[in-house]
Subunit: 570 residues, 2 copies
């Protein structure tokens, strides 16, 4: 249970702030994350890591000499927004390029990927490294679909040591990819966790049971059994991990026995005695093993075993000194304190001149977004519940945060006299920048594409509405990579757009077309209950998520109705 | 919930073993605890700390350069046994004396105190340091009754730095006592914890409620309120601690915001932002604050705030380098590995020649102890439950462990032909050595005293039984410090012994006297429900413990019946 917080919405941000206050010797806070507070020499490759919050010490706890240069912290269990990743990475960059490291989750892949494109557009060489160590999350034939869990830590440690040693971006990337390719994790869970501000756990494991392969956000696992003795649990973990030893693996491995938050050190130490035995019988010598809480999931009960098979290149990097809040190895030289960063001042937007009609249209857009934000706020818990059945349960929070930011930005723009296109563009930027998660970047992109169909001179036309809908669908599918049937919002967006476009082309009144399209979106959202999840989720499916609707499709259908109602009134 | 263990009885021992495997660079396991694995120079004062297990990183996590020389680990929530403390301390001693540091709990006070006497008898200068930082556990007029909680850490850190700096035993003791006198802690709890092997929590806090001042083993607190926001909680903690600022305190303090296990780092970081503000308003500058899990209580949910007001002597010691598994400050020089210790071989006992009658009596004693062990094993959960209502809930486990060890030792001695006195003495030694906790040392002392009334030449006489009972009561009261009415086993033992002695002196048959005495013990055990706890417990009393029997008195009454039944049959 998460009991201590002030405002659930700002929990992650306040936690990072407090962390930086306590560890000011090592880190300092910047918008979106943390940087080393010590001088880093020019010409060093920057290792920038991140992901959702709620996993401390991941990721901010691993910033410091010999490890990461910066970390970006999203909201609890939600990917950080693209703009924040790019902004923190720019501050960490020292002229030798950036490795962006994160666990392989749909939202992180999108946001870090888009951030990399933005950074490259600014002339910075960036390599993207998605960690894929969780063998329970996809089959050996589909390792690129595997989630990243505690294996983040040995891979980042090795990459950080390579960067600290002054290796080139190519070499740091090569070694990091090698380490990831040689890293395997397998975990079990005894109990779920509760998001700050929630009264109910995000997911649960039945009393006395153990969920094998359950994801750290509650993503479906492989099976449930009775809780095992420490020796049987050790045998299970070691057997599963060793069964996937990489080809040509040596007998030496970095080993991490990780507690998820509610499984305590003494339990892990007991378990370690049996794991060490089982590894020895399996011919593995653990090199400088770590046993403790390294990637948590709030107070989730459970643990995982990670092995990174070492060779003569990787082992010295694993053993190299580092000085971070969560991990210290050896002694590092006392570092000089970095000078203060220039103040980050808010960029004030100015808007193109708009006609009265376009301003009125902008006000209507702002009103629709404001109503959407209110509706999504009310639906937050239910959307989270639907999402948690198959995924990481962050959808409700992400949609609330994104729609509120978008509504605020739209309101500000409309009050400043912006026209329809500018209001929508401002909303899109704010949604993408502040929502985080998968839904944040997807909605931001979709709205951004839609805004391009309008202008600041006219009242929106039927043709513009048709074009906006088509552009939004194209952008979402192209950039998000989802197809109809993948159990995402595309399942509702595609029939919505197709119906709207067809009805407009058939010269039906816009109101009728919109209502018809909205109806189709609702039917489609409900129909997602019959689909299996495919995108960015575990392929190993459990009964738990069967028969439940996709939260993204549900919120898209909700939005279609709210926007339609608002347009009809104006 | 504690889920990962092999055998609940050996949880603590296996945890220490695993801990030493993981941190072999710093520590090595010895019987009863851990020692530094690095060379410590002769002439350095030894800081030896310890207490019950279940509190990692306390205490083994604080052994290493610049902090403790050794730690003794009792069973979960139970004081280590006297003999183990003395044995570990002897191995840590380097010719300049020992400071024995522990939290102020009845069992620890007894066991560390007796160990100090044993060590002094061997010519070693020993200072005993009971930490008394928990301001919720007794009034400011009775600080010596206060429990030790997270304040252990700054006090031990300061004492360890003083010892490492080469100060004399007098100076290390003086600085440690000064630090303790300037240390205040105050805590809250949101939820209880579960002992390994238990299905039910040792204690609980109602959902949505917060127990203010609750002890880390569930000892009664001050009051229950609704859970507060982080800012209100910060204000409460700071207000209570600052209200007891020591006379002449400076504006600089070592500060520790401690999580009890189930309250996670991100929650603590959020809370810290408000605590730092409140401290600043209170005129306190936190010096190198610690925010994290430093003294846990398995997976208990809750946190505490500790301040140690610093002066120019204490501050450099707080900031001095140390290198332990749980706390690293600055850089310490790489240390040479200590040579292996000589094997600890079991001392084989030999027994004085005994007559056939005395051997038969020894066998009867062994049988009675074996039946007692079986009975206590069955009653373990219930005794633990009774104990948890007012105390730390370890009574059932301690009695099971002690009686089993005593029964095994008695059986071995009886089979080897030992007489009545020797069998009882062997049982007493084993109980004291292996039970730990308060009950372990008390029962060991009581049985040891009783054994002196018998011999290995005769069958026990009525006069010997009378004398044994008197001696046991005297020893328990003298060494344990409890009086009738203090809600301890003395409440049942005293009427038992008085009745037995009076009836024997009145020439009643032994069977009748024993039955009569047993009846009185049972009445008295039930009557303890009307007493308030006084000894080694919080004086701040709640409804929770009112009206419940004392577990120690109950088990004494149980034992009286079992032993009587066995004697009657033989």
């Amino acid at each position: 249970m998460t009991h201590v917080f002030e405002d659930a919405d700002s929990f992650a941000e306040e936690a990072v702030h407090g962390y930086c206050m306590v560890h000011e010797r090592i880190v300092r806070a910047v918008t979106g994350g943390v940087l080393r507070s010590t001088v880093t020499p020019a010409g060093k490759v920057a290792l920038v890591i991140g992901g959702g919050s709620g996993h401390y010490p991941a990721f901010a706890g691993y910033v410091g000499a010999g490890l990461a240069d910066a970390a970006i912290a999203g909201d609890v269990f939600a990917s950080p927004a693209t703009q924040l990743i790019a902004s923190v990475a720019r501050k960490a960059e020292r002229g030798a390029g950036i490795v962006l490291g994160f666990g392989n989750y749909a939202g992180d892949v999108l946001n870090f990927g888009f951030a990399a494109e933005q950074l490259r557009a600014g002339g910075i060489d960036v390599r993207v490294l998605a960690i894929t160590d969780d063998i329970a999350s996809a089959s050996p034939e589909e390792t690129s679909r595997r989630r990243g869990v505690a294996g983040d830590i040995p891979v980042f440690k090795i990459a950080g040591a390579a960067a600290e040693a002054g290796l080139s971006l190519d070499d740091v990337e090569r070694l990091a990819r090698l380490a990831n390719a040689r890293t395997r994790s397998f975990g079990v869970a005894f109990g779920g966790c509760t998001l700050p501000g929630s009264r109910e756990p995000l997911f649960e494991v039945p009393a006395g049971k153990m969920a094998i392969g359950l994801g750290i956000h509650g993503e479906p696992g492989i099976e449930e059994t009775d809780i095992m003795s420490a020796s049987s649990l050790a045998a299970l973990l070691v057997e599963r991990v060793l069964a996937e030893a990489p080809d040509g693996a040596s007998g030496r491995a970095a080993v991490l026995l990780n507690g998820l938050g509610g499984t305590k050190h003494e339990e892990l130490f007991v378990l370690w005695t049996y794991i060490a035995d089982a590894l020895e019988r399996g011919g593995i010598t653990p090199v400088s093993p770590l046993v403790g809480e390294y990637v948590t999931s709030l107070d989730m009960e459970g643990c995982s075993l990670t092995l990174t098979w070492l060779d003569e290149e990787l082992e010295p990097l694993w053993l190299a000194p580092c000085d971070t809040a969560a991990l210290r190895v050896g002694n590092t030289a006392p570092a000089e304190r970095a000078p203060a960063l220039p103040d980050e001042s808010d960029v004030r937007r100015s808007w193109p001149d708009a006609t009265p009609e376009a301003k009125r249209a902008g006000q209507t857009f702002a009103l629709a977004l404001s109503r959407l934000a209110a509706t999504l706020r009310n639906a937050e818990a239910e959307l989270g519940r639907i999402d948690a059945l198959a995924g990481d349960g962050d959808h409700g929070q992400g949609m609330t945060r994104g729609s509120r930011a978008a509504a605020e930005a739209a309101d500000e723009a409309a009050k400043a006299g912006a026209g329809a296109a500018s209001v929508l563009a401002a909303a899109a930027d704010a949604w993408a920048a502040r929502a985080g998660g998968t839904s944040g970047v997807i909605w931001g992109l979709g709205l951004q594409a839609a805004s391009g169909a309008f202008d600041d001179r006219t009242s929106p036309t039927r043709e513009q509405a048709r074009q906006a809908a088509k552009s939004a669908l194209e952008a979402v599918m192209r950039l998000g990579g989802a197809r109809p049937g993948d159990k995402t919002l595309v399942d509702a967006l595609a029939p919505f757009v197709e119906t709207l476009v067809a009805d407009i082309e058939a010269d039906l009144p816009t109101k009728v077309a919109w209502a018809h399209a909205t109806e189709r979106a609702h039917e489609a959202a409900n129909a997602t209950a019959d689909l299996l999840p495919k995108l960015g989720r575990a392929r190993i499916h459990t009964e738990r998520s069967r028969g439940h609707r996709d939260a993204g499709a549900v919120s898209l259908a909700l939005a279609a109705r709210i926007v339609g109602d608002t347009i009809n009134e104006h």
